[in-house]
């Protein structure tokens, strides 16, 4: 079971990384980051079956912090949308040099 869970979470993490690097919509990039965090959670839970509850406690911390991160992140995306009327990362280019 452990090997399968670890393999699956590694695949999930990689999908998240590829998504962040290739997608251009800020909200989809953010969703891919959340996917990476959930892959990490899966890894922690899998290891917690071997080592005891420590890994599960970590998962609760990650879930709580991810919720707070989503609140801050979506607020920032809305603040940018009010200025530029787009969340496409290719059009966000005021800062260069």
């Amino acid at each position: 079971m452990l090997a399968e869970s670890l393999f699956f979470s590694a695949v999930l993490f990689s999908i998240g990384v590829i998504g962040v690097l290739t997608r251009r919509n800020a909200i989809i990039v953010f969703m891919c980051v959340e996917l990476m965090l959930n892959a990490v959670n899966l890894t922690f839970v899998a290891f917690a079956r071997v080592y005891g509850a420590g890994g599960q406690v970590f998962v609760f911390l990650v879930m709580t912090v991810a919720a707070a991160e989503a609140a801050v992140g979506l607020a920032i995306i809305i603040a940018l949308f009010r200025h530029r009327h787009t969340v496409d990362l290719q059009n966000i280019n005021l800062l260069k040099g």
Binding site: A26, V33, M36, F44, Y51, A75, I76, L80, L95
Partner: protein
């Protein structure tokens, strides 16, 4: 030594007193900040209250510095390394709040929450400096980062600020995921999140070459690399530093970096000393790339905030040299460097705030032309700060000794890092190209006739500038006392324990 029992109130106060004071005060201030509608007067009042709270926490930390000289097991470290890191962090906090009060008034921003967010970010940083467990490291990183994401975009009228905040947020969250995955794999390899337990299990079970552990440490290094803006994970820094309000940029460049480096050093020295041979080449490679790219690209910058962003990247490279040395001196050298860098960075950004105009236009290096003629004291202060960032002897004050101690730590390590020391000196010479060009522009170039004289310096900005310049010069005269204090409570792990364990580990 028995770990502190956090369920006993007296021991809890020993371990977390300053942190609890700061968080409780910040929550009360948040309620007060949201109580009234935004106005310039209200943000000023909340700002001064926040300043008082940060100073009180600083005094509490300094009293702990002399009272408590023991290291403990358990999730919270109580040692002088932590208290000294807290002093550097709270100094940056006080400077950042003072500059924000003036900068908000200049730009007519009434949001009183910016000061409270700085306090929350500092609480996260203090947690990072104290973390002796990967869970606490994660909580500290996130409390710091979430507050700073919001601070980067605190000026709602600025499109550049919103854009910088989005870039910082997306890359910061991306980096956090790497850091976490690394922590999960380290937990999987060793079965613990406590730094001391991880170190002892790596030694006992001879895990130094285990793929799970090596990949985990590498992923954590990537995560920290993003947070301290080490090359090749630095591409967000110039854009974000350019877009954020100047006091917040200084806070990100100096204080966020100080906290991240304190945690990085503690995790690497306490949890992974037995795997020193595995991670040292990676850290040394990061240091070399960061020093070379940061200083070389810094030469090409005309926008002064972007120039200081690349300078901050270059300084991260110098600090990584101290980490790669991995000696007992690394901790005190790193703390002294961070203190000198915090002083110089906040001073330089205080000058930038004086030179900023009402509009959103960035300050260019050419805007400083002939500053000596119109504002001689400002030019003199900026000159000393630039020489300090460069590490110039005597006139650069503490900046010279900061580099000196890092070089000493690198050369006197059990495995001397001669190549890194040589690259450090050579890239410092390259950095003279942009630091001295600022000095040249201020003192030698005539001021253009159409350039308006900069406005009067607001009181708090002047105080920050004065304190930072004087502290740099004084520390340049008596650096040894402070380093001695930091050394008294250096981290537990020393290279003496590194050598025998790695010698026993099987060679792959």
């Amino acid at each position: 030594m028995r770990p502190l029992d956090l369920a006993v109130p007296a021991q809890l106060m020993t371990a977390l007193g300053p942190d609890l004071l700061l968080v409780a005060g910040a929550m009360l201030l948040l309620v007060w900040a949201a109580w009234r509608p935004p106005s310039t007067a209200h943000q000023r009042h909340v700002g001064f209250a926040s300043l008082a709270l940060a100073l009180a926490t600083g005094l509490y930390v300094i009293s702990s510095l002399y009272a408590q000289r023991t290291a403990t097991e358990g999730p919270i470290a109580v040692d002088n390394f932590r208290w000294m890191a807290d002093v550097v962090i709270l100094l940056g906090t006080v400077f950042a709040i003072a500059l924000t009060i003036d900068d908000n008034a200049r730009q007519d921003i009434g949001t009183a929450e910016s000061h409270v967010l700085i306090l929350f970010a500092s609480a996260g940083m203090m947690l990072l400096a104290a973390a002796q467990d990967l869970m606490i490291v994660f909580l500290g990183v996130e409390l710091m980062s979430l507050s700073v994401y919001a601070l980067a975009g605190i000026n709602r009228r600025s499109a550049r600020g919103a854009e910088g905040a989005l870039k910082y947020f997306l890359l910061g969250a991306f980096a956090t995921a790497f850091l976490l995955y690394g922590m999960a794999l380290v937990y999987g390899a060793t079965g613990s999140t406590n730094l001391g337990d991880i170190a002892s299990r790596i030694g006992e079970l001879r895990l130094a070459g285990s793929p799970l552990l090596v990949i985990g440490v590498a992923l954590m290094l990537i995560g920290f690399g993003f947070k301290v803006a080490a090359v090749p994970f630095h591409m967000w820094a110039p854009d974000v530093y350019d877009g954020a309000p100047s006091p917040i940029t200084a806070y990100m460049a100096a204080t966020v970096k100080a906290a991240a480096f304190a945690a990085l050093l503690r995790v690497w020295m306490e949890a992974f000393p037995a795997a020193f041979d595995a991670w040292r080449p990676a850290v040394a490679g990061l240091a070399v790339a960061t020093m070379i790219v940061g200083n070389a690209v810094g030469l090409a910058q005309r926008n002064i905030k972007r120039m200081l962003a690349y300078s901050s990247i270059a300084h991260a490279g110098f600090l990584l040299v101290a980490l790669a040395a991995g000696s007992g001196q690394a901790g005190s050298a790193l703390l002294f460097y961070l203190l000198a860098y915090t002083l110089a960075t906040f001073g330089a950004f205080a000058v930038i705030i004086v030179l900023s105009r009402q509009d959103d236009r960035p300050v260019m290096i050419d805007d400083l032309a002939g500053l000596w003629g119109v504002r001689p004291w400002l030019a003199l202060g900026m000159g000393i700060l630039m020489l300090s960032l460069l590490g110039f002897p005597v006139f650069g004050g503490a900046g010279f000794f900061a580099k000196w101690y890092v070089l000493q730590a690198a050369l006197q390590a059990p495995a001397p890092q001669v190549a890194l020391a040589v690259i450090l000196v050579l890239t410092t010479v390259v950095s003279a190209g942009y630091y001295l060009s600022v000095v040249m522009v201020m003192f030698m170039k005539p001021r253009p006739d159409d350039a308006p004289a900069p406005g009067p310096t607001p009181g708090l900005t002047r105080a920050v500038l004065l304190v930072s310049v004087l502290a740099i010069l004084v520390l340049g005269l008596v650096p040894d006392q402070l380093v001695g204090l930091a050394r008294a409570g250096a981290l537990r792990a020393t290279p003496v324990t590194v050598a025998p364990i790695t010698a026993r580990a099987p060679r792959p």
